[in-house]
Amino acid sequence: MKIEFQVNGKAVNVDIAPTARLTALLRDVLDLKGTKVGCDAGDCGACSVIVDGAICCGCLVAVGQLDGAKVTTIEGLGNTAAGARLADAFLRHGAAQCGICTPAMMVSAAVLLDQSARPSRRDVEGALGGVLCRCTGYRKIVDAVLDASADDENSAPALTPQRRAAVGHRLARLDGLAKVNGTEVFGADYVPDGAALVRVVRSPHAHARFTIGDLRAFKGDHSGIEVILTAADIPGHNLHGVIAPFADQPVLAETVARFVGEAIAIIAGAPNCVTGLDLSAFPVTWEPLEPLQSPAAACDDQAPRLHAGRPGNILVEGHVERGDITRGFAEAAHIVEGKFTTPYVEHAYIEPEAGYARRIGERIEVHACTQAPHMDREALALILGVETEAVRVVPSACGGGFGSKIDLTLEPFIALAAWHLDRPAYIVFTRGESMRASTKRHPSEICARVGCDASGRVTAMDFDGVFNTGAYASWGPTVANRVPIHACGPYFIPHYRAHSQAVHTNGPTAGAFRGFGVPQAAIAQESLFHDLAETLGMDQLEFRLTNALDNQQPTVTGQVFAEGVGIKACLEALRPAWRRESAAAREHGHVADGSTTRRGIGIGTCWYGCGNTSLSNPSTIRIGLTATGQIVLHQGATDIGQGSTTVISQIVADALGIGIEALDLVGSDTDLTPDAGKTSASRQTVVSGTAALRAGEALRGMILRQGNAGSDAEITLANGTLSLCEDGIARVIELANLETNPHGYVLEAEETYDPPTTPLDDRGQGQPYSVYGYGAQIAVVSVDMLLGTVKLERLIAAHDVGRAINPLLVEGQIQGGIAQGIGLALMEEYIPGKTENLHDYLIPTFGDVPEIESIIVEVPDPRGPRGAKGLGEHVLIPTAPAILNAIRDATGARIRQVPATPARVRAAIEEAWEND
């Protein structure tokens, strides 16, 4: 069908199927890739475009309905005054993190600003409410839109930091421009000409044996299929796993599928043919086996073993023990205990996995959204049976990861197809495929007991956590090891025993998700602390201060820090807000005024070790000076929206003593950047940041030595000359006279940092991390006692980051982490087969994230760069327990199973009434 309409003011005349969706027309035919596709079902709003002045989801518009219409996309918005104001405001406010939702947020905001010049906060939330964001927690987006609509005088100007003052500056992210003008290239945004499309055949069963049938006949029946690959076609090892000793996952299952969605074959060929293939016709015979549904079933003696060498289906156990809990409980005046349950939680980044690969002679190049390029490279080399040097991984912009994009997902499929076909191959996961195939947060069942003496000092804690690690190992060992170390929270507990198990089932593979099991453990610990304080009749905040860990006190692994323990400072920082909100809650809440809502407040806290647990996890950073006077920073830390590119640049600029604008950035690419490790475990600021600081200082030293200048000399680089100015005297050095090294630099510094840790002994004693970060949050809620609905009124968060390298980004992390914590507490539960989309799997929207007051606490840590500690994961940990404690405070009901859905809250309220 021929359709004529306008896009961004230009006439478009196409012949296209009338049922094609507008997004497909924009992206695939007109090459306007600024409009994103996150779900293809109206749920995420990433595809928002303006049609005849109204905002709508491009994925729900059939092009047949467009004849004569005027369509505006992010690409068209850039040319308008409102578009420019919005772009500027989004940058200044840090309203774009990964940036995948940003074009949709901006076009939705443009329609609003067109209709009302001075919208209210509520108006903004309503107008943008159809667009999901998983990174920012929405508050900064609302601020940015309000700013863009305000009079110019009121908006905060962007400032460039002074020399030597980049650290601590509220610098807008350096990679932000492409995110706000829609030109950022995410995994699905570039496909080389002539690339083959890859599709993955997946198991519909949680556990089944299978036999593949006549592939030749299937291929013959479908012209356009160029190759079908199964386990037998993998040139190297059909095995991968993020922790080498535990590698147990086949790229393509061989005879048994162990979870719903496990890949058994890939099909590649001409996109127009492969897109429409009905994969249910793929020749395979399934023989379903009894699936292991839960850790309890998996541990049963009669249960089948999913992996050889793992008796009881137990992957790993973790253990930490200090003092003598029998004695500790004997000394206790009060003891509380409880059993807590958490479900599978989906990362729900807005960008489904996508990317392409191409073969160049005997090398393979993979361009995909990943959090761990160097790990991918090593794994792909093993799978393809080639040398590591033969693999190049170039991360595309990553539309959210939160841990899941560390594990291999699409990478081996595109690499295998491109390798076999010797032409480029690409893949774009559907939303359902992304949810089925990717890792999840570990479901947990935790039994814990805590005792304290009459004065409120905790004497003992006992903790048993069983974590469902799903079909394959992934990061299960990390979760099992991290949890017993962190389950005590940031407290001094003299007698302690914590045990964890990661158990295989036929559920989705559980992997890394912001916090590696610690958020689940914190729910148990903080709930029990609340109940203890309540039993004692002691103020919640004072109870925590009484027990908070201090400098010179041993942690549960026996580690003693001379300085840098920041939990008391966080709790003290919350005290004014705690007093104010307590008073307000008493006033609003606990009176029987006929109203059915009750207000309550609660606290949650966290501590979190930055970097791998007791394992080497080095980062290397290289900085070079060219003969033309350019300073080039090679940093391989992938920025998945959290801001490491900006933070590392700030550290380097100050270490060198140059303006940050003078840095040329070379982003993550295994051919161009040394290994900065994976973006996880809140390690990039601390580990890569330290390597960057040292590399910056080293290069500065080399530069100064060129002119025998003293340490305070001012460096100026211009047009191939270096001048060093000291006490008013300038020495000029012609850089062209210096020799150039193989990297093309006249001077180069490369530094590696590996945080010092020691292994844990049998009782879990040792130094698992060199730096911990700390935090505490207050949640204020109103609960409708009859409906069981929980409305968040406000959150106040105090986080000790040691030194805020960039306060704007710190706030962004706090707000984004809190939004995910809200999801964990109130609505998120992944059920295979039932919630494989974004309307049954609910994540918080604008209206679910209340006002957030961030208090940045700085207790410097001598082992972090400029005193900085990590933050990325910490922020999510206190939120859920704070909310559950606030519900308890408001209603008397104790929720021990998350999410606290209205049905569960109402049932718990009824139980509390009965016990009254």
Binding site: A17, I55, V61, G130, G276, L787, G788, E829, T845, P902
Partner: protein
């Protein structure tokens, strides 16, 4: 996938002729917010799609001389909220309609689509039913008008015959002393499927006594329920505690929900009663104003 024929007729007669001539699966397209999702998920595979948005009758909302309204079947919720007349006369009807999805969805979602998609949780339907709305249907045998509640039959099924579609709806004028309301419960603040929905329309006399009432419940049965016993419980009362308790009990008795992750049977049943009490209070307040 077979290739689809796509037509956008300009009149009802043309649409009827196209429908009559069609063999195989044919679908009406209004806002497309349900239809495109179903197409994409390969839940349906029609040979012909008829876009009714080029037909004026489906795209207008008119207040008639007698105070009643004629609402085009493809008129969008976002458009209705801009109209002072209907938002003042029938706030409950507009509330249900405007709760559908986000701003992105509201600009397209129609009453005809919401009703004919026949979801038991459809948000606009309870309020349409209690307001006494009827649907004007065109088809091969001419036109007919039936009450809205007779359109959905079971999840995904309607009573429309082959070749029939809804052109528009009739909404009566607001009676003197009349008020309506729609409330729903969802776990998230927006964009979610109702766990329970409740529509109420009632009329109060000068003394504040309920002279007529209708109560309906969504998402607690295979189709939207009209609960006569609940209406009876409040007719003739001044909405005292006793009457509200009876209303609550009647709604709980009528509700036959299912268990799913959004809510248990027990919970949904109780909530039906709570929402009914609250919706009645809002409708009564509006009736008094």
């Amino acid at each position: 996938m077979q290739s689809v024929q796509f037509e956008a007729p300009g009149t009802v007669d043309e649409a009827v002729a196209l429908l009559a001539g069609a063999t195989g699966d044919t679908r009406i397209l209004a806002g497309g917010t349900d239809l495109l999702v179903q197409l994409r998920a390969h839940m349906i595979n029609p040979g012909l799609i008829i876009d009714i948005k080029k037909i004026d009758e489906t795209r207008s909302l008119t207040k008639n001389a007698d105070g009643s309204y004629t609402i085009g079947a493809a008129y969008a919720g976002a458009e209705a909220t801009e109209r002072d007349d209907i938002t003042k006369d029938w706030p409950g009807v507009v509330e249900g309609w405007d709760l559908i999805g986000s701003t992105q969805i509201q600009g397209r979602a129609s009453l005809g689509g919401n009703l004919c998609n026949a979801s038991p949780a459809a948000d606009s339907v309870p309020a349409m039913i209690v307001a006494g709305m009827t649907a004007n249907i065109a088809g091969p045998k001419g036109r007919r008008t039936i009450p809205v509640q007779d359109v959905p039959v079971s999840p995904g099924k309607t009573s429309l015959g082959k070749g029939e579609f809804i052109v528009s709806f009739n909404l009566p004028g607001r009676p003197k002393g009349g008020g309506d309301a729609y409330l729903r419960l969802i776990p998230r603040t927006e964009m979610d499927i109702a766990v329970v929905g409740c529509g109420v329309a009632l009329v109060l006399d000068d003394s504040g006594t309920v002279t007529s009432a209708k109560v309906s419940l969504g998402a607690v049965s295979a189709k939207v329920l009209v609960v006569d016993a609940a209406a009876k419980a409040i007719i003739g009362t001044k909405l005292d505690d006793d009457a509200l308790a009876k209303l609550d009990a009647a709604c709980q008795a009528a509700a036959k929900p299912i268990n799913d992750k959004r809510g248990t049977i027990e919970y949904r049943t109780k909530i039906a009663g709570v929402l009914a009490r609250r919706a009645v209070k809002i409708a009564a307040e509006r009736a008094g104003s």
